[in-house]
């Protein structure tokens, strides 16, 4: 994994410069700067409300930003821009709540983007979608409706839907937060496969072990800023900042039981 990230930062897929975003006067993203290179997997962790999901939403133009600039390769992403949909075609995004279209079956969910947004033929797009479904083990569900699927199956379909657009970067926003542990595994293994195939990704997650396994780089956010940044092994073994140490420690119940302050 460590070898994989080397030398890739030279051609950034995504560049964020001095991003500031506030809701009703309270700052949620405070001067964020970040570059993600080709094939790099960046995992963003941090406590609830630290701004990590908002960051992903800003990248996709779902939230207007106060100041700062976001570039996807050379194209500036600007919430107001008329051609936002063209940029978005190159950014895949998967949400916690799956957000499959409930009125379409799995195949129609997968075909909507390639056919309507990219203008590909049905035959062509269907062949690719079938192959992709097979890879995630859902060939038999092509004509099921979303409500007939389990949470893990829905989320796998949502990931396939995003990857079929052949995005430059994939944004995953807490995609396992609503799933049972068993389903978490099947979804995360799909993401690990994508990483192996060299997909550039920005992932927001609460699964620390998964973060360690998939990331080329970890970003720890708190209070709207990137507090710490590092290689996964080093970060999880010995975080540098007190804030990150405290965050990672939150999860040991022994300390709670013994009354040791965290």
């Amino acid at each position: 994994m460590a070898i994989k990230g080397a030398g890739r930062v030279k051609t950034p897929v995504l560049r964020i410069d001095n991003l500031v975003k506030s809701f009703d006067g309270s700052v949620v993203l405070n001067d964020i700067s970040l570059t993600i290179g080709e094939g790099e997997v960046v995992v963003i962790i941090g406590p609830s409300g630290c701004g990590k999901s908002t960051l992903l939403r800003c990248v996709n133009g779902l939230e207007p930003v106060d100041s700062g600039e976001i570039y996807l390769r050379d194209a500036r992403i600007d919430g107001q821009k008329k051609n936002l949909h063209l940029v978005r075609q190159k950014i895949g995004m998967v949400f916690q709540s799956y957000d499959l279209f409930p009125h379409m079956d799995v195949m129609d969910n997968l075909l909507l983007g390639p056919m309507r947004a990219l203008g590909r033929t049905k035959q062509d797009a269907t062949a690719e979608a079938e192959a992709a479904l097979k890879r995630v083990g859902l060939s038999d569900k092509a004509h099921a409706l979303p409500r007939q699927l389990s949470g893990g199956q829905k989320q796998r379909v949502a990931i396939v839907r995003a990857t079929l657009m052949h995005p430059d970067i994939l944004l995953l926003d807490e995609i396992t937060a609503a799933l049972d542990p068993e389903m978490v595994r099947e979804v995360l293994s799909v993401v690990l496969d994508l990483a192996k195939d060299g997909m550039t990704m920005a992932i927001v997650t609460h699964e620390m072990r998964f973060a360690e396994a998939v990331a080329d780089r970890i970003l720890f956010m708190d209070g709207g800023s990137i507090v710490e940044e590092g290689k996964p092994k080093a970060f999880f073994a010995s975080p540098e900042t007190a804030r990150a140490r405290k965050f990672l420690n939150t999860f040991t119940y022994e300390e709670l039981r013994e009354g040791i302050p965290t």
Partner: protein, 223 residues
């Protein structure tokens, strides 16, 4: 019961029912268009238009159709706008129905999760594509019960058209009662005529509603 009388005057009722249905169809079709436009103006918060449609919806929903018709039919000619009885009836029904349809459509749009629209946006669909493939089909499915209820309500409202000199079912019934004093027969045919129109529509409405409720998004459509 004077069956001979009923036999003789059935064609009059059929004709009147035809007139009622034609006007209802035109008025309801227009109310769909008005409702859709108003609803879009409000859903997408188009400035100015949004306030105007808001005022229109309140005006139309809080006044009786009969008063609206009197204003159109007897009032407007005084400032040079002269409409036929049919024109008035269609306009009045569309004015009233547009407001009700706008509300029905809007409740459908509001029921579509905001994240659905975001998911469409993330696929890089244009706004028009997002409305066409993501927002509209889901909104329509949710608002079908309200739309059906509105259609039935509007057809029932047509029963006041006789007030603007339209020879509709009420008009014919009143005529027969006045002229021949055949009250029982006239009223029986009146009720049968309305039931013949409304029962199938009501049944269709509850069938659609049941289908949507039990099957969820059970219908198939291809992209």
């Amino acid at each position: 019961m004077d069956w001979g009388f009923i036999n003789r005057y059935t064609p009059m009722y059929v004709e009147a029912a035809g007139l009622t249905l034609r006007i209802a169809a035109a008025g309801i079709a227009l109310s769909f268009v008005i409702g859709a436009l108003c609803c879009l103006a409000r859903y997408f918060r188009v400035p100015v238009l949004r306030q105007i449609t808001g005022a229109y919806i309140q005006l139309a929903r809080n006044t009786p159709l009969l008063v609206q018709l009197f204003f159109l039919y007897f009032g407007l000619p005084k400032i040079g706008v002269r409409l036929s009885s049919e024109g008035c009836a269609v306009m009045g029904l569309a004015f009233l129905g547009g407001a009700y349809m706008a509300e029905a459509f809007r409740s459908g749009l509001d029921a579509v999760e905001k994240t659905q629209v975001e998911a469409g946006e993330c696929l890089g669909l244009t706004n028009a594509q997002n409305i066409r493939y993501v927002l509209f089909p889901q909104a329509l499915a949710t608002s079908i019960p309200a739309i059906c209820a509105n259609v039935i309500f509007l057809i029932k409202e047509t029963s006041v058209f006789s007030a603007v000199a339209l020879a509709d079912l009420m008009y014919v019934a009143k005529d027969l009662i006045g002229m021949y004093y055949k009250t029982d027969e006239a009223l029986l045919m009146l009720v049968i005529a309305y039931l013949t129109i409304l029962l199938p529509i009501s049944a269709l409405g509850s069938w659609l509603e049941r289908r949507l409720r039990y099957a969820g998004f059970g219908y198939q459509r291809s992209v």
